[in-house]
């Protein structure tokens, strides 16, 4: 299943992906309601963090009300109606890629924008891709 893949370098820490993500979901420009975060560390480190749609999602296992499911198409999805906003999944995710919407108070993660991700489109250095991990591995092997 394809998901958001970071090229490993070239991120400039500009957070365009985060703002584009909020706009794609809430039609508003902000940062805290994003589903793709950017870590900026001094002096030289910037990288995005986004849901990996794990096969055995710890977030799903941690959810006390079964609001998180792994769909057949591979997507890990939160049911915003049944989610009680307890944050167990936010703590459980090993990547910190499950967030808590600041105003709706429900868990939020990357949903690939239905297949045309805004973060990939708006990333100025073009270092985000919607790709299948195995395809990335093949490129890496060929790249050598």
């Amino acid at each position: 299943m394809a998901k958001i893949i970071y090229a490993g370098e070239g991120c400039t820490g500009c957070k365009a992906c985060s703002v584009a993500c909020v706009h794609a979901h809430d039609r508003a420009f902000g940062l805290r309601a994003t589903r793709i975060w950017v870590v900026r560390e001094e002096p030289l480190t910037d990288y995005p963090v986004v849901c990996h749609h794990c096969d055995k999602p710890p977030c799903r296992d941690a959810c006390p009300v079964g609001a998180i499911t792994k769909r057949d198409d591979g997507l890990v999805v939160v049911n915003e109606r049944t989610c009680i906003g307890c944050g167990a999944c936010v703590e459980a995710c090993p990547f910190g890629a499950m967030g808590m919407h600041p105003t709706k108070r429900v868990a939020i993660n990357c949903d690939l924008c239905g297949g045309d991700p805004a973060c990939v489109k708006f990333c100025p250095p073009r270092v985000l891709k919607l790709q299948v991990p195995e395809a990335v591995a093949q490129e890496q092997r060929v790249g050598g």
Partner: protein, 637 residues
């Protein structure tokens, strides 16, 4: 609680540090309609709320942090924000712009603008957490540099995403050109606004914003965003900036003989090749770290791998840092320049004023007007890079000769006397940036008329430095060629400087970045008009004629602020070096700038009187009759 106009949050946050009182008041709709944002808002507030003769370090001075209707949106280069106050360095209009992430975060917390007045009893910092605003003790932050302060505030509130604007040791000691830092490498550099924070015992402002900003016509706005991003990608300058950043200017200015060297004595520097973008990219480049959502990506981080300053890693230097800390001091050691740039960011010093006050002292030393004994025994010969780095430290901590330099070149020369004033390269008390009117004629007028003193960001246009004849013809008319593009001629320069000053007044109110409209510009007034209308829903903004009217209102109001302080045509002067001393060598050899003829034409285009003052008719036409009345009242001395 949504505000009738898109793009704005609709709230102004007022903070009185004396009584530790905070108040969120609605943004008056007519302020938005008549002044748009950023510089426009600040012009109105500073004129209304300050009085002539006020000491910039007095509690009554306002410190304004402002954004605009585009700040925090996806429009490329819209991460900009700005600070305004009566300036400690010059005693007139103070303004400084910055990238980083603080501006958007302030809007996400629900505020278009923060207006701070009064002085806190002890060291404090302002903590803004959406609707919760507190004035907290900063006792343990005192004496910290800007990086430590940022880290400590984030740690204290357990959140690495908090944005912090803070001062370092220089601001605490009221150095007249102390700056305010955000995001470790982004500076509200010029006019000494760091000293305003210092004078208010305000060490930092920390913001967390969990909300979001909406625009009036989202579909139209996003269309404009897509188009804007495409234009940035295709624009030649932007592509070069993406790779090399502003140091690209070093080689170009060296080739045209305009690389200001040894306190602007000449335009050729023998060490230029060791400081140009090719060398930096090859030997020192470490990473690109952009401002908020930026498509131009011009900000670089460099690293020194060998020599005395090995291990230094710092954002920058920008072209101005290479000029001020390097060529203007006769220094070609990039390690020292990067180290000094880093120290300026950590201690909170304006790189340009710091470098230029050192260059002034070096010229006084060259001409025997100061002795080593007077300067802590330091050897101030041109090119002494270690002494330059040492002096940055002494200025920030006001130690030894640093205490004299910390007052700014004009005050330092006044105290030193013995004819040293002659070698201060300033306009209205602010040290000149890295342009030379002799070889880039319109820059002479820009330096002279800029509202905050010698400034290259409020009206600088390079049509007569870079040319691009067909862009010039399209914008100003074929009949203006070739003179408009002639770097050594005065003809049509007032026209382009006035047009740029108006366009940049809008750019600085939206607030978007300087590089959105360099030359040839990616965006100009019509693009700003379209983006403003879509963002705010105000149809009138979409008409370029209205935008020019708002721009002229802002430019006249800022000018009126200075006129009320007693400024007039006599202050629109540049040092004789540019008007009397011919360029000694290089392609521009023999050139001097005839400022008078450009100045007269500029006043005519501005519809000001011969003494450079806005006439009552001009002010009234722009809806500033109250300002005209105020200027007529005799000044209380």
């Amino acid at each position: 609680m949504s505000y009738p106009l898109g793009g704005y949050t609709g709230q102004i946050l007022r903070v009185d540090l004396e009584r530790k009182k905070t108040l969120a008041e609605p943004l008056p709709k007519e302020l938005a309609l008549n002044y748009l944002g950023g510089t426009g808002f600040a012009a109105r507030i500073l004129f209304d709320e300050l009085r002539a003769g006020l000491d910039p370090l007095a509690p009554e001075n306002r410190l304004i942090f402002a954004t605009g209707p585009l700040t925090g949106t996806l429009w490329p280069t819209s991460g900009r924000w700005a600070a305004y106050a009566k300036a400690p360095l010059t005693g007139i209009w103070g303004e400084a712009h910055c990238g980083g992430f603080f501006g958007p975060e302030l809007k996400y917390a629900g505020y278009d603008m923060l207006v701070i007045h009064g002085r806190a009893k002890g060291p404090v910092y302002l903590w803004i957490d959406d609707g919760t605003v507190e004035v907290r003790s900063a006792k343990d932050l005192l004496g910290r540099n800007t990086a430590e302060t940022t880290d400590m505030v984030r740690e204290r509130h357990g959140d690495r995403e908090i944005e912090v604007a803070c001062i370092g040791q220089a601001g605490e000691r009221l150095v007249r050109f102390a700056c305010i830092m955000n995001n470790y490498q982004d500076a509200l550099g010029r006019t000494g606004l760091g000293a305003v924070m210092g004078s208010k015992n305000l060490k930092a402002v920390a913001v967390r914003g969990t909300r979001a900003v909406t625009v009036a016509d989202d579909d139209k706005f996003m269309e404009l965003v897509d188009d804007a991003n495409q234009r940035v990608l295709k624009q030649s300058q932007a592509q070069q900036m993406m790779k090399y950043g502003t140091p690209l200017l070093v080689a170009y200015k060296s080739n045209i003989g305009e690389l200001a060297t040894r306190n602007h004595q000449t335009g050729l520097f023998e060490g230029a090749d060791r400081l140009n973008a090719d060398t930096i990219r090859e030997k020192y480049y470490a990473k690109t770290r952009s401002c908020f959502v930026c498509a131009i990506q011009c900000k670089k981080v460099n690293r020194i791998r060998k020599g005395k300053y090995s291990g230094t890693i710092s954002g920058g230097p920008e072209y101005e840092g290479i000029y001020a800390l390097g060529t203007n001091c006769g220094i070609d050691d990039f390690g020292a320049v990067l180290k000094a740039n880093q120290l300026c960011n950590l201690y909170g010093l304006d790189v340009i004023s710091a470098g230029c006050v050192i260059a002034w002292l070096m010229e006084c030393y060259q001409r025997g007007l100061v002795t080593r004994k007077q300067c802590d025994g330091l050897n101030l010969k041109w090119g002494n890079s270690d002494v330059m780095v040492t002096l940055i430290e002494r200025i920030a901590f006001r130690e030894g000769i640093g205490d004299l330099l910390a007052q700014g070149s004009v005050q330092a020369a006044r105290k030193l006397g013995k004819g040293t004033e002659r070698y201060v390269m300033h306009v209205k008390g602010m040290e000149i940036s890295g342009q030379d009117g002799r070889t880039h004629r319109s820059a002479a007028l820009t330096h002279a008329i800029s509202v905050r003193g010698a400034d290259h960001l409020r009206s600088l246009v390079t049509v007569d430095q870079l040319g691009y004849e067909d862009t010039a013809a399209k914008r100003y008319g074929k009949d203006k060629l070739p003179e408009i593009c002639d770097p050594y001629g005065e003809r049509y320069k007032a026209l382009v400087v006035k047009d740029a000053e108006d366009t940049f007044a809008i750019r600085d109110s939206l607030i978007v970045c300087w590089y959105s409209c360099g030359w040839p510009p990616i965006f100009w007034m019509s693009d700003f008009a379209a983006a403003s209308a879509a963002a705010t829903g105000v149809k009138e903004f979409g008409d370029v004629k209205n935008m020019y009217r708002i721009a002229e209102r802002i430019c006249n109001l800022r000018r009126a602020f200075n006129v009320r302080e007693g400024l007039s045509a006599k202050d629109d002067m540049i040092p004789e070096r540019f008007t009397r001393e011919p360029m000694p060598e290089g392609p521009g050899k023999g050139q001097v700038a005839n400022l008078e003829v450009m100045l007269r034409e500029y006043y005519r285009l501005r519809k000001w009187d011969a003494d450079g003052k806005p006439t009552e008719r001009t002010l009234t036409e722009l809806g500033l009759a109250d300002v005209a009345a105020e200027l007529k009242r005799p000044r209380k001395r």
